[in-house]
């Protein structure tokens, strides 16, 4: 009986020993500094262009500052990426720098507590105020712009336009007339790709210039819960446009099962004429269909007139967590990004698909056709307006699903709009906004 006990004690000791050795092995990894050099980690989402941008910036920066090296790491995009960023910020395990969206997604990170405030840094002087508005709270500014801005509007096939003798529409009625003509000629007038649900939101989000044109205070009123989509005759037009193109039968036949890749292919190969999309997709077209890229143009989403302008998306930002171990090095990297030189590095690395948000930066001459179409809007006074998500922190998570329903005729525009109003209520209450 005694031997029996001894043995089980021995076993217990063995098991404990194994557990402890695991723990010790765990401690030996980690540590970022090696012989006077500082290594900063930078987390970027896994979009090719973004990785290439960051790697080019890191290389150029290290060439100037040999003591600081940048280790680029990647993460998934979309909702998975949002969760990952929030988790890592909440647990204090964030990389020294990270790439993330500006606007309402950044507001959801609880920036005043989790992010490094760079409001008073001198390098912020060259960053345009449009961008600063999109990455600040009343208490601070949190990012420098990386990459270029985008426009949300309609990519169109110029070859089809030329064949049918059509002109770029500036009002919704002209757009629908064009659709009629294109449809009669046997092409798909409007391409929709609801397998990638986010692509369905463009008619609603891209319509925001038209909303602001008629009601300039709409975004602030929306944040204060004074207006909403369902009861506002102007704002609901975005949902109605989605319903109209569906009911008129202008969509490609397999819109419910198509993906973004399918949509770009149909557009490039001339099966369809219009594709509501963000202008960044131009770079995919240039890569996949270099021969047809010159046929693809871009125009802002037409409204009910008379003004016509572009809804724009700000560039992404490079942020740092408040608890970074190397605040000075992080700031010197941010200072580098906020220079004209950094813009040129980015243009060389991935080309430009929209304007930069650093003063003095110019686009290269050889931008794709569709990107060139964007520029006149930016050069016109009042030709652009930031998308709602950069003017108001209120954005409901279910918009893609709702726009898919409206765009497939499952729900009417009015029902969709009021459902979305309910959806944002939850978000606004979580953010603790006044008036909700």
């Amino acid at each position: 009986m005694n031997a029996f006990k001894k043995r089980s004690k021995l076993m217990a000791a063995l098991v404990t020993g194994a557990a402890i050795s695991l723990t010790i092995a765990g401690c030996s990894t980690g540590g970022a500094t090696t012989d006077g050099k500082v290594e900063l980690s930078l987390l970027v989402d896994n979009t090719d262009a973004n990785i290439a941008t960051v790697e080019a910036l890191a290389e150029a920066f290290t060439a100037q500052n040999p003591d600081i090296e940048i280790d680029v790491q990647t993460r998934p995009g979309g909702e998975e990426g949002d969760n990952l960023i929030k988790t890592r910020l909440a647990t204090g395990e964030m990389t020294d720098l990270f790439w993330y969206n500006s606007g309402s997604l950044m507001q959801a990170l609880n920036p005043d507590q989790t992010l490094l405030n760079i409001a008073d840094e001198p390098f912020m002087d060259t960053v345009t105020s449009t961008f600063i508005d999109g990455v600040s709270t009343p208490n601070g500014v949190y990012a420098v712009p990386a990459g270029t801005g985008m426009g949300g509007g309609i990519l169109y096939n110029e070859a089809i336009y030329a064949e049918l003798g059509l002109e770029v529409p500036v009002t919704w009625d002209e757009f629908m007339d064009n659709n009629e003509a294109i449809s009669n000629a046997g092409y798909d007038a409007v391409i929709q790709t609801y397998t990638d649900a986010w692509t369905s939101q463009l008619f609603v989000l891209g319509d925001f210039y038209n909303v602001l044109a008629e009601e300039p205070n709409w975004a602030d009123d929306y944040t204060a819960n004074k207006v909403n989509y369902a009861d506002d005759d102007v704002a609901i037009r975005g949902f109605e446009r989605l319903q109209e193109v569906y009911e008129a039968g202008y969509l490609n036949e397999d819109f419910a099962s198509s993906t973004l890749d399918d949509g770009l292919r149909m557009l490039a190969q001339g099966e369809g004429a219009h594709y509501p999309m963000l202008s960044f997709a131009v770079s995919t077209i240039v890569e996949l269909y270099p021969d047809q890229a010159d046929d693809i143009g871009f125009f802002a989403q037409p409204g009910d007139g008379p003004s016509n302008g572009l809804t724009t998306w700000l560039a992404n930002g490079i942020y740092a967590p408040a608890d970074t171990e190397h605040p000075d090095e992080v700031k010197s990297f941010m200072a580098f990004i906020a220079t004209v030189e950094a813009c040129d590095v980015q243009s060389d690395a991935v080309g430009a698909t929209g304007p930069y948000f650093i003063e003095g930066c110019v686009l290269p001459d050889d931008v794709p056709n569709a990107t060139a179409d964007l520029l006149p809007y930016f050069e016109t006074e009042g030709g652009t307006a930031a998308a709602l998500e950069f003017l108001s922190p209120v954005k409901g998570p279910s918009l893609p699903q709702i726009t898919v329903e409206v765009g497939s005729g499952i729900r009417s525009a009015a029902e969709g709009a009021s459902l979305y109003d309910q959806d944002v209520t939850k978000q606004a209450q979580q953010l603790g906004l006044e008036g909700w």
Binding site: L22, D45, N46, Q73, P76, E80, L84, T284
Partner: protein
């Protein structure tokens, strides 16, 4: 005679069904992996016009500083270590729970069931790991995988052990075996079939796990094979040819394992099913 034709018929049907279910998707993976990026974007079930499998494999392996190689090493260590610990611990827990009745048993059973029912929360788990200084290390992730797999394995072992006659233990005890020896030399070999089942199920689970490595083991040098898929698939653009090449490459090790251990696996699964 009639019966024989019928059994041949059902056999043929079963073979055709499994060809459709298993080989068709695999062919699709292989064909897409052999295409150029442009051709693969159409996602069609067609023979590649340009055969680019070799170039794709080279590119996939070289991506992000040979991340796939690191990932294979990490995944292998992770899978082997966590499955070994899981089998060892759950067999011991299952044995004690089944053989030794005590007033703790209901409480322990409740905890085991709770492990199956209650979903793990990410942030508090990270806090615990940080407290133990295990966060972001492979041993930390191994312990997490072991914890999440333990409940299921304990239930499997307990059910199986119930079918082992107590007379065996008694005979062994009379012959002078202590409890440790009784477990490791008498009982453990008898558990072979259920061990194989647990190994197969949990190895597939751990090898395929995406969520846990993503949250608990950040950093490129810590990637596991499932995370490498995200090198080629992003929210806005996906390189389908490279994605499918990657899928092909990371499907091969489990496939090879299956071919080698097929007999043990099938035997283990079926005997486990009948007796359990």
């Amino acid at each position: 005679m009639k019966r024989r034709t019928r059994s041949i018929l059902t056999g043929t049907l079963a073979i055709i069904a499994s060809v459709i279910v298993f080989l068709v998707p695999f062919t699709f993976i292989l064909m897409t992996a052999s295409k150029t990026r442009q051709e693969s974007a159409a996602l069609q079930f067609s023979w590649p016009e340009q055969f680019a499998l070799f170039e794709n494999i080279v590119e996939v392996i070289q991506t992000r500083d040979f991340m796939l190689i690191t990932a294979f090493i990490n995944s292998t260590v992770l899978t082997v270590a966590s499955v070994t610990l899981m089998v060892l611990f759950s067999a011991m827990v299952g044995w004690v729970l089944q053989r030794r009745q005590s007033r703790w048993n209901p409480a322990i059973n409740l905890m085991v069931l709770a492990g199956l029912i209650i979903p793990p929360a990410v942030v508090p788990t990270i806090w615990v790991l940080q407290g133990l200084e295990l966060f972001g290390t492979l041993p930390g992730l191994i312990l997490i995988e072991v914890t999440f797999g333990l409940s299921f394995s304990v239930l499997m072992f307990r059910a199986f052990i119930a079918a082992i006659p107590r007379e065996l233990d008694e005979a062994a005890t009379i012959d002078g075996a202590g409890p440790i020896r009784l477990f490791f030399q008498v009982a453990f070999p008898l558990l072979r079939s259920v061990i194989v089942t647990v190994i197969v199920v949990q190895a597939v689970f751990v090898f395929n796990d995406f969520q846990n490595p993503l949250y608990f083991l950040p950093g490129d040098e810590n990637a596991t094979v499932q995370l490498t898929l995200y090198n080629f698939q992003s929210q806005f653009d996906t390189q389908w040819n490279l994605l499918f090449t990657n899928i092909l490459l990371i499907t091969i090790p489990p496939l090879v394992m299956y071919i080698f251990f097929q007999r043990q696996i099938v035997a283990g699964m079926t005997s486990g099913a009948v007796k359990g």
